[in-house]
Every structure is written in structure tokens, then in C-alpha cells.
């Protein structure tokens, strides 16, 4: 139980650190960048009240001390107020609300697919000490070492632009007036089709890592005595492999925490390539237009999403490893 509280404590602390970082990030910018923000604020289609609030948020309102700025920022945050988007003139939370499902859907499905298949392939390759791996290695290095956006372009050109197998822009067929966003067959089909290439990019880029990681852990786990005991017991091969795999999956889950932020960052780049209507494409637009409230809001949401994924991985680990439950 103490372990769980300790971990939860870490997440609270991490969330707080992210919030604070977010506050200071804008204040660390050079002076002329801030002037830039201010001019954006003035020209934006927002009400004078919102302007005042934003000016306060960025420390451009000299009447407030840094501390009181910080606390009003925290207070706003607790009320779910992330400010107003200067480029869109709507609350940041509204923008996030429309973007977040797309990103979660994309990253979530791609990560689950990559993790499940990568782990399974890794188990088989490791267990059989298969030569298959050596043949796979050049391919795996390619996917691991090439930035996401290059891989995205590769898929976009081959399967999208030239191959015409999948659509390669937007989240659904925006040009079709008959398509009504919602829970209907045509819309969902369109979403899945449009998501295929971005999801494939993210999955391909990360699956090699899971395969190699799982294969390596599998090979080290197979050197453990308890795996040999399982063989000595006369258990069938697949059960012996199961004992090894069941133990080998634990480090793989811890590695999940190490790589999820890389995957999320990569999928941001992927969204940009495919003009996918998620947070990644949105933050790129926000950066180009200097929309700081939106940038900060997205940054915060993405960090929270990564922390959430970490928490899930942590819980899975505790559920799967009896030792983690007991310690301290």
C-alpha cells in the first residue's frame, strides 16, 4: 500500500512541476518575444477583459507581483480556466476538447497495437533464439533511427499519394457534405481510414523498440533457474516459454514509462505531416501564430496524458509483480 501512495505522490508532484514549468516557460522567453505576445494579444479578437486576464497571465501587467501572478494562475487552473486562444478567440479548453480525442485515439491505438504485437514478436524471437531477428535487424534499426516525420512522409508518399491505398490528410473526409461527425458507420469508417497511415507511422516507429527490448529481456530471463525448472518439470514447451515471458514482460512495462513521452512527441510530428486534427497539428499552428495560451494549454494536457499513461503502466506493473506489492 505504501508503494502505491509513494507512486501517487510522485504523480502529484510531477503534475505540479509541469504546471509550474508551464508558468515559467513563457516568462523565460526573451523580452522581444514577450512584446510579440503582447502585440498578438492586442490584435487578437478577444474582449478587453480577456486581454487583461491574459496580460496578467504573462506578467505583462506590472501591477502584480510574480507570486500573486503565480497564485492566480494556479487558481485559474483549478477552475479549469486555461485562458483564451489568441488566434481563435475561444477558450483554450474548448480547443483542447475537440483536439484531445483525436490524439488520444491515434496515439492510444497505435501504442497498444505496437506494444501488443511488438511484445508477442519479441517473445517468440527471443524464445526460439531465432535467426529471424538478425534478418529483421536492419529493418528494425531503420524504423528506430529515422525521425517520425520522415517515416510519416515515406508512408504518405508510398501508400497515400502514389499508392492511393489510404487517405493521407485530415482526420476524416471533410470534403464530403454527406458525412455527419458522430457515431455513425460512414463517419467511423472515414476516421479509421484517415487514421490508418498516421497510426501505422507511430506503430512502426515504436514496434521495433518493443520487439528488441522484449527479445533482450526474454534472452536474459531464459537464463534464470526457474525457467530451467519449468523445463525440468516436463512442462510442455509453450508453458516453459510462458514462464519466461510472464517474467520478461515486467521490465518491458517499466520501459513503457521510459519511451511513452518519445512516442507522444513523435506522434505530434506525425500529426503535422498528415494534417491530423489533434493536439500536435494544433500546437504547430499555435506556434506559427504565436498563440501562447493555446501552446501552454496543449503542453499541459500532453504532459498530463503522458503522466496518465505512466500511471497506468505503474498500476499494471504492481498488478503483475507480487514483489512490487510487498516492498516497503
Amino acid at each position: 500500500m505504501r508503494t502505491i501512495f509513494r507512486r501517487l505522490g510522485f504523480y502529484v508532484l510531477a503534475a505540479y512541476a509541469a504546471v509550474t514549468l508551464n508558468f515559467f516557460l513563457v516568462r523565460m522567453l526573451p523580452g522581444d518575444a514577450l512584446q510579440n505576445v503582447l502585440s498578438k494579444l492586442r490584435s487578437a479578437a478577444i474582449t478587453p477583459e480577456e486581454l487583461k486576464a491574459l496580460a496578467a497571465q504573462y506578467g505583462l501587467d506590472s501591477h502584480q507581483s510574480l507570486a500573486s501572478q503565480y497564485f492566480s494562475y494556479l487558481g485559474n487552473l483549478l477552475h479549469g480556466d486555461l485562458g483564451t486562444s489568441t488566434s481563435k478567440g475561444v477558450p483554450v479548453t474548448a480547443v483542447l476538447g475537440t483536439d484531445l480525442p483525436w490524439t488520444i485515439g491515434l496515439v492510444g491505438s497505435a501504442t497498444v497495437i505496437a506494444f501488443v504485437f511488438g511484445t508477442l514478436i519479441g517473445i517468440v524471437v527471443g524464445w526460439r533464439r531465432s535467426g529471424f531477428f538478425d534478418a529483421l535487424l536492419p529493418v528494425a534499426t531503420f524504423f528506430q533511427a529515422v525521425p517520425y516525420f520522415i517515416l510519416a512522409f515515406l508512408l504518405l508518399l508510398t501508400l497515400g499519394f502514389y499508392g492511393k491505398v489510404f487517405p493521407y490528410a485530415q482526420g476524416y473526409d471533410t470534403g464530403n457534405p454527406d458525412l455527419v461527425p458522430g457515431w455513425n458507420g460512414t463517419f467511423i469508417t472515414s476516421v479509421v481510414e484517415h487514421g490508418a497511415l498516421p497510426a501505422a507511422t507511430v506503430a512502426l516507429a515504436s514496434i521495433a523498440g518493443w520487439i528488441i527490448g522484449m527479445r533482450n529481456v526474454m534472452l536474459t530471463t531464459m537464463d534464470e533457474d526457474y525457467v530451467l525448472v519449468a523445463a525440468a518439470k516436463g512442462l510442455p514447451q509453450w508453458k516453459v516459454a510462458g514462464v519466461a515471458a510472464r517474467n520478461a514482460i515486467l521490465p518491458s512495462i517499466s520501459n513503457f514509462a521510459l519511451s511513452i513521452s518519445l512516442v507522444v512527441a513523435g506522434s505530434i510530428a506525425t500529426e503535422i505531416v498528415f494534417s491530423y486534427p489533434g493536439l500536435g497539428y494544433e500546437i504547430y499552428q499555435a506556434i506559427l501564430t504565436g498563440d501562447y495560451p493555446l501552446m501552454q494549454g496543449i503542453l499541459l494536457v500532453v504532459i498530463f496524458t503522458v503522466l496518465g499513461a505512466n500511471l497506468l503502466a505503474d498500476m499494471a506493473y504492481v498488478a503483475l509483480d507480487p514483489r512490487a506489492r510487498k516492498e516497503s
Binding site: I150, L219, I268, I287
Partner: protein, 310 residues
């Protein structure tokens, strides 16, 4: 050297040497300056020809010359990012593992928080407003990239330091009163080298990915006249080369980025196998015609023994 016996390391190193050479001498041997323009009024890029090996851009610049010149900043910045991040990860990871207790708690939480930060996203936000005199400073860019990249190495180094600290020889060095910096430098660091090498290479790969992505996005402004692989991709994409079929404009820089990445990844694989011999394919018995399976020791009734006579 033992390390050169691995095919992966040899291929990786040769490939890497090629690109490093390219980065160093490329700009000097390039037939034209990166911003040189062919004397023509055509607004359409020319495909590869004997005159322009890799064709031209829309502004009639020589793609071949740009590719030769475009690697320098990319490699320099990612190398700096790798060095700075490694230094940070040694500082933080080794201290956390060596001193333990509260130091470890604080530094571990710090590393874990940085691990959860999506680096590219933060870099995008931070880099965009930087003025050109800052973005052309490789140390600054490399340093900022390193700030988002040290945590992974720190975590691995901490774990390894922790296990080294409990080894007898480190314990005895402490007991006889060696001072901490001495123990760390002489007893612990040498044993961290393989892991350090691995995390350094990992960070350089990350650095290349980050820098190329940022320049491709146009988030890092480059002074006029300077060309990097990432900006080539940026300009090429913005000019519509993807839909216009001007493949010679974007394929060479993309291949270069991929090539450097693959070289480093191969090197990393090789080092991994040397660090952890259990991962080598040698133990699969391939080439010897013997298949090793757990719980089924192979039997070759070939050895001449007196048992054969019976």
C-alpha cells in the same frame, strides 16, 4: 580490438565515418555554395543531370551542394547535445546512485519528471521565439536539446551505479577512506563506460531527430545562406515538391538523416551485445549446425570416445 569483431559495429562505424567526413569536408568539396543559383529563369526544379547530380531546387540551387553542406550543423549540434546530456546524466545519475538517500530521492524524482516531458514539444515552444543570433549558436541549441534528453541516461546510470556501489571493491575503497570524487572517478566511472557509450549514442540519435524535426518545422530559424538537411526538407515541402513529384529535392537529405541514424543505431546494437554477451546470436549455435534449445541439450555422437567401441 574486441569491439571491431562485431559486424554491426564495423558497418555502423564505417557509415558514420562517411557522414562525419561528409560533414567536415562536404562544404569545401561542394561544386557550388548552398545558396548559389543557376542562371535560369525557370521556376521549375531540374531533375538530376550530369550537370546537377541531384537536380536543382525551385530557386535553381544545386541540391548536391546543399546536401554536402547540410550535414555539418546537424551533426555538430547533435554531437553537442549528446555530450552535454551525457555530462548531465553522469552528474545526476551517478550522484543519485552513489549517495543514495535523500539525494537519490530528489534526483530520481527530477529524472522521472523530465522523462515524462515530451521533449520535441517543449523544444518547439522554446525554440520558436529565439532570435537568429541564438539559433545560429550550436552550443545553445545543442544545450537546449540536451536539457530534454539527459533523463534517460541518468536513470540507466543511476541503476548501474547503485549495483556497482555495493560491489566489494567499491565498498572497500569507501571503507579505507577514499574520498567520494576519487571513488566515483576511479572505481565507478570506468565500469559505467559501456552504458555511457550506449546512452550517449542514444542521445545523439535523439538529437539528430530533434534538430532535423525542428528545422523541418521551421521552428528553428537559420540565417540566410546556411542550409541544413532539415531546412532543405522544409523548403522542399513548402514548395510543393511532394505533390509535384520533385523527389530529388527531398529524398537525398531524408536519406542522409536516415543513414546517420542507422549508423548510430547499429553501433548501439553492437555495443549492447558486447556489454551483454547473452544477447549475441552466437549462442544460438548458428553456423555450427547445432540448434540450442532450453531443456534439450543437443547430442552430437561424433566425438571420438572409447564409448564408440562398445
Amino acid at each position: 580490438m574486441r569491439i571491431l569483431r562485431s559486424t554491426k559495429v564495423v558497418v555502423g562505424l564505417s557509415l558514420l565515418a562517411f557522414f562525419v567526413l561528409l560533414a567536415v569536408v562536404g562544404p569545401f568539396v561542394a561544386p557550388h555554395a548552398p545558396d548559389w543559383q543557376a542562371n535560369t529563369t525557370s521556376g521549375v526544379p531540374q531533375p538530376p543531370s550530369s550537370h546537377f547530380w541531384f537536380g536543382t531546387t525551385q530557386k535553381q540551387e544545386d541540391v548536391f551542394s546543399q546536401v554536402l553542406a547540410g550535414g555539418r550543423d546537424t551533426l555538430l549540434i547533435s554531437l553537442l547535445a549528446g555530450l552535454i546530456a551525457s555530462a548531465l546524466s553522469i552528474l545526476i545519475g551517478v550522484s543519485a546512485g552513489y549517495f543514495g538517500g535523500v539525494v537519490d530521492e530528489v534526483l530520481s524524482v527530477l529524472s522521472n519528471i523530465f522523462l515524462a516531458l515530451p521533449g520535441l514539444l517543449i523544444l518547439m515552444v522554446v525554440m520558436k521565439p529565439l532570435p537568429p543570433q541564438d539559433t545560429s549558436n550550436p552550443f545553445l541549441i545543442g544545450g537546449v536539446i540536451a536539457l530534454t534528453a539527459w533523463a534517460w541516461g541518468a536513470r540507466v546510470l543511476r541503476a548501474q551505479t547503485l549495483s556497482l556501489r555495493n560491489q566489494d571493491y567499491v565498498e572497500s575503497a569507501r571503507v579505507i577512506g577514499e574520498r567520494s570524487p576519487r571513488v566515483i572517478v576511479f572505481e565507478i566511472l570506468p565500469n559505467l563506460l559501456p552504458i555511457l557509450a550506449s546512452s550517449f549514442i542514444f542521445t545523439v540519435i535523439y538529437g539528430i531527430g530533434a534538430y532535423v524535426s525542428l528545422t523541418w518545422l521551421g521552428v528553428i530559424g537559420v540565417p540566410s545562406g546556411v542550409v541544413t538537411w532539415g531546412t532543405m526538407l522544409n523548403v522542399s515541402q513548402a514548395s510543393g515538391s511532394l505533390i509535384s513529384g520533385w523527389w530529388w529535392w527531398y529524398v537525398p537529405p531524408a536519406l542522409c538523416v536516415a543513414g546517420v541514424g542507422i549508423a548510430l543505431a547499429l553501433l548501439n546494437f553492437g555495443i549492447d551485445e558486447i556489454v551483454n554477451p547473452r544477447l549475441t546470436s552466437a549462442r544460438t549455435g548458428r553456423g555450427s549446425g547445432v540448434k540450442f534449445r532450453l531443456g534439450l541439450t543437443p547430442v552430437l555422437q561424433s566425438a571420438p570416445t572409447k564409448g564408440d567401441a562398445k
